[in-house]
Structures are given as structure tokens and as C-alpha cells.
């Protein structure tokens, strides 16, 4: 082993109690940073997947669909969807293409009418691709090709209209020509998205029913589902080149909730990490400062024997590195243990603001985050130790030897 490193390790063992306290604080600080970072990272991953599952990894539409408001429904909608869908499915990275008709209007039970936000979807493919993205509270999900006009209601909307599976309701919306059209529908199921405000307005129906109501063959957008998240960028470029007359947005372009949560968490956890990092650096700095003051006379002796200030600075920096490094590795092990334990012993978090359902607490284990955090801890503690040692190692030898 390198003599300087061995000397540094031996020096950390001089005052074991102080070293244990320093290493413990460095470990707890590192674990706190990694756990907070892992929580934020898991949240980002979960929200990103949810966003991509809701809209599709890519959303294809006419440019005005994304840029302008519509005077009448589907003014900027896509035509000849079947041919377009076939062309899109030819790309090897495209797993599914789901048409969507988005419209708004009124929904009534005969006694009471209320505003709805509706989505016409291809039920079989939609639910096959997206999986259980809705929590069905009553009834069943829609199926394609049903002879009856059917809808699924958000739980809040169903409660407002006193609707249950089997109830008859009427949808009222403006057609693509601007005329009003009404259609009787039967309630197939009731769901919750976990967001009460959305559950008070949202209606799912078959795309055929939606197009009949709006008297059109157009769809608002095509949601393109890819084999994996990482394909998003490359496929977007390919499709944009193949369909220059259309706009291809990514899930990120429409993930306003994801972006706002990410911005908020980055600030919160960034500040938290900075504070914890500063505390750890201060603790290591303080421990090193005490050790160096106690060893001033010894530093003078070593200097008298011909040790260069740079050599002493190196060994003291290594000493800080040992304290910070051992603490950081212990903290990483602690963080890893807690993260793995959460998969075995789940902990459920309460619903966040604006939501009706909690979620399981999970901590992402990201090797890059671990490497960067460990490297930062080691580097910072080395720099902090060098900084506090620089004055003593350059002190005149006579002064250092006379230190009591």
C-alpha cells in the first residue's frame, strides 16, 4: 500500500471516537442524499411512464391541432387515419397506434346536465396497450364493436349524475359543422383516475360513438406507442421526416404535470442535497481542523526531517478522503439496503395534494447517481481537508515545533 495512504489511514484511527462520529455523519448525509435523489428519480420515472402511457410516446396530429384553438370540434383533425396508421405501424419501433377523438359537451341524466370532457378511443387496443391505467370502481371497461353506444364515467361525474352501470344518459355536443347533436348512451363502467377534479368531468366512449356524435370520420390525434422510452427521440425524428405535413410531439411536450413536478422536486431535493452536502463537508472539515491543530508539533517534526508541505497536504487530503470515502460508502450501502427493503416490505404513501389515491414508496437505484454522489463526497472532503491543512503545513517549522 502507498505509504502516504497507509499513514492517512493510521491517522484516522488516532481518535477513533471522533472518526466514528465523522464517518457516521458522512454516512447519514450520503444516505439522505441518495434516498432523496432515488425518491425523486423514481417519481420522475413513474410520472414519465404514466405520461407516455396516457398520451403515447409520440402524438401525431396536424400542426394547428397543437398550435390553435378549434372553433368547432376536429377542425384540425386527421383524415384517412387507417392508411396513416398502417404506415406508422411499419416502423419496427412502433408497437401500437391509437386514434383519439377529444371533444367536450354536456352529459345529462334527464334531470341534470353537466359539462364533460370526453375521449373517444379504440377500447380493445387502448386497454390492451395501456394496461390497467384506470381503476374501475364499478361495471366493466368498454369493448370495441359493441352494438350499443356505451360510455365509462369518472367516479365524480357518475356520483353527480347518480349514474350506475346500466344507466342511460344523453351526450350533447357540437358537430364538426357547428350544429348541436345528441346521442343516448348506456353506462358500461365507472372509474377513477386518482385525480378527483378529472373524475368529475371525464368520459370515455368508443371512437365510433364519438365520431357518430360529432358527425365526422376524423380523429384528433394518433397516439404512437413505442417498444421503449428510449426510442422516443429517434422515432420522432424518423416520423417527422416521413410526414413533414404533420407535427410529431413527444409525451414530454404534453406532460405538464410531469414537468412541473420535476421542476419542483429538482429545486426541493437540490436544495436539500446542497444543505446535507455542506453539513457533511463542515463536519469533516471540523474533524480535520481539530486533528491538524493537535498534530501541529508533529507536522513541524516531519517538516524538520525534510517532508515537503505538498507531501503533508497530500496525506492530510487522503485522511479527509478516507473519512469522507468510508462514510460515503457506508451511506451508499445504507441507502441501497433501505431501497431494496422497500421492495420487500412496501410502505404506502398518503395521496399527494389533488389526488385521491396514495402510492407505494419506492426508491430508484441509479448507479450513475451513486457514483456521482460518492465521487462528489470524496472530492469535497479531500478539498476541505486540504483547505484546512494548507496554513499549518506552510507554517514555519520553528513555529510548528513550538506549538503546544
Amino acid at each position: 500500500m502507498n505509504m502516504w495512504l497507509k499513514f492517512a489511514i493510521q491517522n484516522t484511527l488516532r481518535n477513533r471516537r471522533r472518526s466514528i462520529v465523522t464517518v457516521s455523519i458522512a454516512a447519514l448525509g450520503t444516505a439522505a442524499i441518495l434516498l432523496a435523489g432515488g425518491f425523486a428519480l423514481f417519481t420522475y420515472q413513474a410520472l414519465a411512464q404514466a405520461a407516455a402511457r396516457t398520451t403515447g410516446h409520440l402524438i401525431l396530429g396536424k400542426p394547428d391541432q397543437f398550435a390553435k384553438d378549434e372553433d368547432v370540434p376536429l377542425r384540425h383533425g386527421l383524415e384517412d387515419v387507417a392508411a396513416l396508421r398502417t404506415a406508422l405501424l411499419a416502423d419496427p419501433a412502433v408497437r401500437q397506434v391509437l386514434p383519439k377523438v377529444e371533444f367536450s359537451g354536456l352529459i345529462s341524466n334527464g334531470d341534470k346536465s353537466t359539462v364533460m370532457m370526453a375521449a373517444g378511443v379504440d377500447p380493445d387496443n387502448e386497454f390492451a396497450v395501456k394496461g390497467p391505467f384506470l381503476n374501475m370502481t364499478e361495471g366493466k371497461v368498454l369493448v370495441s364493436g359493441s352494438p350499443d353506444a356505451e360510455v365509462m364515467l369518472g367516479a365524480g361525474l357518475a356520483r353527480s349524475l347518480k349514474a350506475t352501470p346500466g344507466s342511460s344518459l344523453t351526450l350533447l355536443a357540437s358537430t364538426t359543422d357547428g350544429a348541436m347533436n345528441a346521442m343516448d348512451v348506456r353506462v358500461k363502467g365507472i372509474f377513477t383516475t386518482g385525480v378527483p377534479d378529472v373524475d368529475k368531468r371525464l368520459v370515455y366512449t368508443d371512437i365510433v360513438t364519438a365520431q357518430k356524435l360529432l358527425v365526422t370520420q376524423r380523429v384528433s390525434t394518433l397516439g404512437i406507442f413505442l417498444d421503449r422510452m428510449e426510442s422516443t427521440g429517434p422515432v420522432q425524428q424518423r416520423l417527422a421526416a416521413q410526414h413533414p405535413q404533420l407535427t410529431v410531439q413527444t409525451w414530454m411536450d404534453q406532460a405538464f404535470f410531469y414537468k412541473s413536478v420535476r421542476d419542483l422536486y429538482n429545486r426541493i431535493f437540490g436544495a436539500l442535497g446542497l444543505i446535507i452536502g455542506v453539513i457533511v463537508v463542515f463536519v469533516v472539515t471540523n474533524a480535520m481542523a481539530m486533528a491538524i491543530i493537535e498534530r501541529t508539533r508533529e507536522i513541524g517534526t516531519l517538516r524538520a526531517m525534510g517532508t515537503l508541505p505538498g507531501q503533508l497536504l497530500r496525506t492530510l487530503a487522503l485522511e479527509g478522503m478516507v473519512l469522507g470515502g468510508v462514510g460515503a460508502v457506508a451511506g451508499a450501502a445504507l441507502s441501497l439496503g433501505i431501497s431494496l427493503m422497500l421492495y420487500v416490505v412496501p410502505v404506502h404513501m398518503p395521496p399527494p395534494p389533488g389526488r385521491s389515491e396514495g402510492y407505494p414508496l419506492n426508491i430508484a437505484i441509479d448507479p450513475l447517481m451513486y457514483i456521482v454522489t460518492l465521487a462528489a463526497m470524496v472530492l469535497l472532503t479531500m478539498l476541505a481537508s486540504s483547505w484546512v491543512a494548507r496554513k499549518t503545513v506552510h507554517m514555519p517549522v520553528v513555529v510548528a515545533l513550538a506549538h503546544t
Binding site: T301, G306, T307, V397, L401
Partner: protein, 234 residues
């Protein structure tokens, strides 16, 4: 006279050095025109009361301080105002130190303490191992090589300090009150060891001391008073 018969220059040649310290608003003259020479293998004792300038003279001779005036020559070379790097190199190669409080590194073993100057000088590991073993045997501590200093008696620690000072075969050894922390019997042993090892390694010793038993056994005694040489005796 041919080159082979030329007399060797003194190991240390101090020429009319002055040194003044500043204590707050006051200046305290520590050395006032001190001159002295130390010959190879000589054991020179510096005596005098506290404040007479012994430690200051040792510091200047050991190149850990610089005089305000005068010259210091080490083996004939002027080392009065060397820069830090060159003074450091000379201390590393040519000067050994023995301190009153031993000043061993407590986390290092006896062997590691003795090895340290060789490590600094860049001596290969195999040679270092041999020389450390030989030096520890010479000071009678071969069985304590892997002990820490705190497991040794005061006399044993000073033996380690002597071994550490002599391991690099210095021309000059600076010893500040080397027997002050030792009982008389141990002090005698340490002095014998310094004399024996000094002669064996060809090193000159400059020893600051109050100990009259020690001064009696040195080759020469120089007495300092108020920063001047008051007298010298063989």
C-alpha cells in the same frame, strides 16, 4: 599539498550570526555575533541558561530558521539563505534531529518511524528494510520493530529517535535536550549510544543541554549567555 591530504572542512561553520525575535512591540536579540565550528565526528555541547540562545542556534544550524546577519556553512557550502525547497532537501539528506520530547509519530511502528527519512529520500524498499533492521539492531531495539512508540519506555523512545536521526547517515545531528526527559542511568545509556553511533556513522552532534553529566562526556562544550559565546572548553 595534494588534494588527498587537504583537511576536511568543518561540518558546520557558523560565522558571526545575529538573530532577533519580535515579541509584540519589543525586539529580543537571541544571538549576537555567534561564531563556531563543528568538526566531523565531534560531539559539541551547547550550554547556558534558558534564553541564552541555544535553541535559536540549533534552529539555524538545522536550517529550520535563517539568521538576520552572518553566514552559515554546511560542509563548506553557504546555506545561510536557501530557499525552502533546497533547505528541505538538505535537511532530508544531511541533517538529523533529536528532540527532547522524542517527537516520534505515534501511529507508526518503531520500524516505520526509523524508515520514514529513507522513504522521504526515495531509497528503494528492499534497501530500506535492510538498513532499518541494522539500525534497530545497533540501538538494541530489534525486538521492538513492530511496537508503537507508546508501548516503549522513555529511554527506548529516545533510542528510536536516535536511530531515526542516524538512519540516513547525516553529516550533522541536532539534538535539543536529548536527555532532559530521561533518568540518569537511561541518560548515560543514550549518550553512550549517541557517541557510539555518531562515531560509527561519522556524524557530528550539536547538543543543547543543561545536563552537566552529558557535557562532561562531550568533546567540547560551548557556553552561551545572552546570545553570545561566554566560553568554550575541551
Amino acid at each position: 599539498m595534494d588534494r588527498a591530504t587537504l583537511p576536511l572542512p568543518p561540518v558546520l561553520d557558523v560565522q558571526a550570526v545575529h538573530k532577533t525575535y519580535r515579541l509584540g512591540a519589543h525586539t529580543v536579540p537571541a544571538l549576537r555575533g555567534v561564531s563556531l565550528q563543528v568538526q566531523p565526528g565531534e560531539l559539541l555541547a551547547l550550554t547556558g541558561p534558558s534564553g541564552s540562545g541555544k535553541s535559536t542556534l540549533l534552529n539555524l544550524a538545522g536550517l529550520i530558521d535563517a539568521p538576520d546577519a552572518g553566514r552559515i556553512l554546511l560542509q563548506g557550502a553557504d546555506v545561510t539563505h536557501l530557499d525552502d525547497a533546497r533547505a528541505n532537501r538538505l535537511r532530508q539528506q544531511a541533517i538529523g534531529f533529536i528532540f527532547q520530547g522524542f517527537n516520534l509519530v505515534p501511529v507508526m511502528t518503531v520500524a516505520e518511524n526509523v524508515d520514514y527519512p529513507l522513504f522521504l529520500a526515495g531509497v528503494p524498499a528492499a534497501e530500506r528494510r535492510e538498513r532499518v533492521a541494522a539500525q534497530l539492531k545497533a540501538v538494541g531495539l530489534q525486538d521492538h520493530a513492530h511496537h508503537r512508540p507508546d508501548a516503549l519506555s522513555g529511554g527506548q523512545r529516545q533510542r528510536v529517535a536516535i536511530a531515526r536521526a542516524l538512519i540516513k547517515r547525516p553529516r550533522l545531528v541536532i539534538a535539543d535536550e536529548p536527555t532532559a526527559s530521561l533518568d540518569s542511568h537511561t541518560a548515560d545509556q543514550v549518550l553512550d549510544l549517541m557517541r557510539e553511533r555518531g562515531h560509527a556513522e561519522g556524524a557530528a552532534f550539536v547538543i543543547a543541554t543543561h545536563d552537566s553529566r552529558l557535557t562532561r562526556r562531550c568533546d567540547r562544550v560551548v557556553a552561551l549567555l545572552d546570545g553570545k559565546i561566554e566560553g568554550a572548553s575541551q
